[in-house]
């Protein structure tokens, strides 16, 4: 316990060094196995203050280290970690401008009159932007929704000397005088993400109430009234926590902006095929390995829309599948003219006798609508055939969000066996799915087995 008659924190007699070493050892316990997650209680307990978490009577009479408050906070913390592992975190933060990203209303006081800088309340607004930049860097998408003149707002965003966030940090913007709930719906459509992954940050309680009522699935935190309390409010937000940040997280925002460029190209192209051709798409399919494990588990947890069976495999589950001789786990990485999307899809084949079953087939919504799903399926068909299967079985397990893939298998030549179960005869070679001509495979996969 902290508090000692020896003041030098490095002195052996104080015991602090030993305690720190012990705690550090505990922190590294998650290295034992990839399905172990450490809850750094010590760190949180220190930030809350031990005094509020303990009751000496409970310690002496019952050997309980925590009082009821402490137990409740610990339980919350563990539940929070479980929630994060299960993929409950929000993905998009939609923020207001005036009096949220900076102090004052640009339309009234002009760019010079705004509070945003490294002094006083201006620093609180700047720190608020810094916190949002951290969110951005950890893979949260930022979007703007503000009632403003677009020219005024963009000028502040790109030119204000005290600004931390610039327009390049936002994947979508709705700067207009329309209903914010409607704007949020439009942003969700544009990003192809569902509103239950959205957080809405606005200083105005009326706007918050409006959005919360119109879109109950959007999380609308009650931003503190005083701007100086807001940076710490964002730091304490549990709804955007994640266990770790992958490289895909770091580049997520960039890839959504690439999607915007792609959409423009599409609008200018004469035909859909011509558009796909111009994308120069290249797929790299690989067997799951230790390097792709974390990303694969993350996709299993997070992918909702293009996910045929929605099996929420964890790192541990996938490790078992990797070792299973009757299963093949493939990841697909996607690259085109605009960006390298990294690993964006996962499929699992399980062999049973002369049948191969598609246990899992999922793609990140960022790569949909570009015939990548067709190419990936064609690859699986070929892989199952080479694996010696005569029939390929696919399943569709309906959820609230995966309606769009309901007919995926029948649309690609599978026969419906019963509701949600489909079969493809791999010996009828002329009717198997083929790789669309607009997509190339990088270095065809070689089976080492």
């Amino acid at each position: 316990l902290p508090g000692s008659n020896v003041l030098d924190s490095r002195a052996a007699a104080r015991g602090q060094v030993a305690v720190t070493e012990f705690v550090n050892g505990v922190r590294h316990l998650d290295a034992i196995a990839s399905n172990v997650v450490t809850v750094d209680w010590d760190w949180h307990a220190q930030s809350i203050g031990w005094a509020t978490l303990r009751d000496e009577r409970l310690w002496y009479l019952g050997r309980m280290r925590l009082n009821l408050t402490g137990l409740a906070i610990l339980a919350q913390m563990i539940a929070g970690h479980v929630g994060v592992v299960r993929g409950g975190a929000r993905k998009v933060a939609v923020v207001d401008l005036d009096n949220t990203l900076w102090g004052g209303i640009v339309g009234e006081v002009g760019i010079e009159g705004l509070a945003l800088g490294n002094e006083g309340v201006g620093l609180a607004f700047q720190d608020f932007q810094r916190e949002l930049l951290k969110w951005h860097d950890s893979g949260i998408l930022l979007a703007l929704c503000s009632k403003n003149n677009p020219e005024d707002a963009l000028e502040v965003l790109d030119k204000h000397p005290g600004g931390i966030l610039r327009s390049e940090h936002f994947v979508a913007m709705r700067i207009n005088w329309q209903d914010k709930a409607e704007n949020l719906r439009a942003i969700a459509r544009e990003l192809n993400l569902s509103l239950d992954s959205f957080v809405f940050l606005d200083d105005n309680p009326v706007e918050r109430e409006w959005v919360a009522r119109a879109l109950p699935e959007v999380l609308v935190p009650e931003l503190p009234k005083d701007p100086v309390d807001r940076p710490s409010f964002l730091r304490g937000a549990s709804y955007i926590q994640r266990i770790d940040v992958t490289s895909t997280d770091r580049s997520r925002s960039r890839s959504y902006r690439a999607a915007n460029l792609r959409a423009q190209t599409r609008a200018n192209a004469a035909s859909f095929e011509g558009f796909l051709d111009s994308l120069e798409q290249e797929l790299e399919i690989a067997r799951l390995n230790s390097g792709s494990l974390a990303r694969a588990a993350q996709m299993c947890q997070r992918t909702n829309q293009f996910n045929l069976t929605t099996r929420r495999y964890t790192v541990g589950d996938l490790e078992h599948l990797m070792a299973d001789r009757n299963a093949s786990v493939f990841t697909v990485a996607v690259r085109d003219r605009f960006e390298d999307s990294g690993i964006a899809g996962l499929a699992i084949l399980r062999y049973r006798g002369d049948r191969a079953e598609i246990d899992t087939f999922l793609l990140s919504c960022r790569v949909l609508g570009r015939k990548i799903e067709e190419a990936f399926l064609a690859f699986l068909v070929e892989s199952a055939r080479q694996g010696g299967a005569s029939f390929l079985i696919g399943h569709y397990v309906p959820t609230a969000k995966n309606k769009q893939v309901e007919s995926f298998f029948p649309n690609h030549g599978f026969r419906t066996v019963e509701e949600g179960a489909f079969c493809l005869n791999l010996r009828a070679q002329d009717r198997l799915p083929v790789v669309p001509p607009q997509i190339r495979f990088k270095s065809p996969l070689r089976d080492e087995e």
């Binding site: 000496e56 009577r57 409970l58 002496y60 009479l61 019952g62 309980m64 009082n67 009821l68």
Partner: protein
Amino acid sequence: MRQRLKQLMALTFGVPAREVPDDAAAADFPRWNSLGHLELMMAVEMEFRIQIPSDQMQELSSIGAIEDFVRAQDVAVEA
């Protein structure tokens, strides 16, 4: 007062309130063990907004003893 205590015991030990006897004591509930006792003490403290010193805690092992203790505190306790 006794009714409120019975409610607390019912909640703490997971039994219906009507099954808590008027002279309830530790022996009446399997879950009134040492841990259950501390839970009950915490519940009583929160309910009546009082602090029970550690030496008293061990002695309050019946509904009568708890009631006497709570009444002796300088707090407004409605019957």
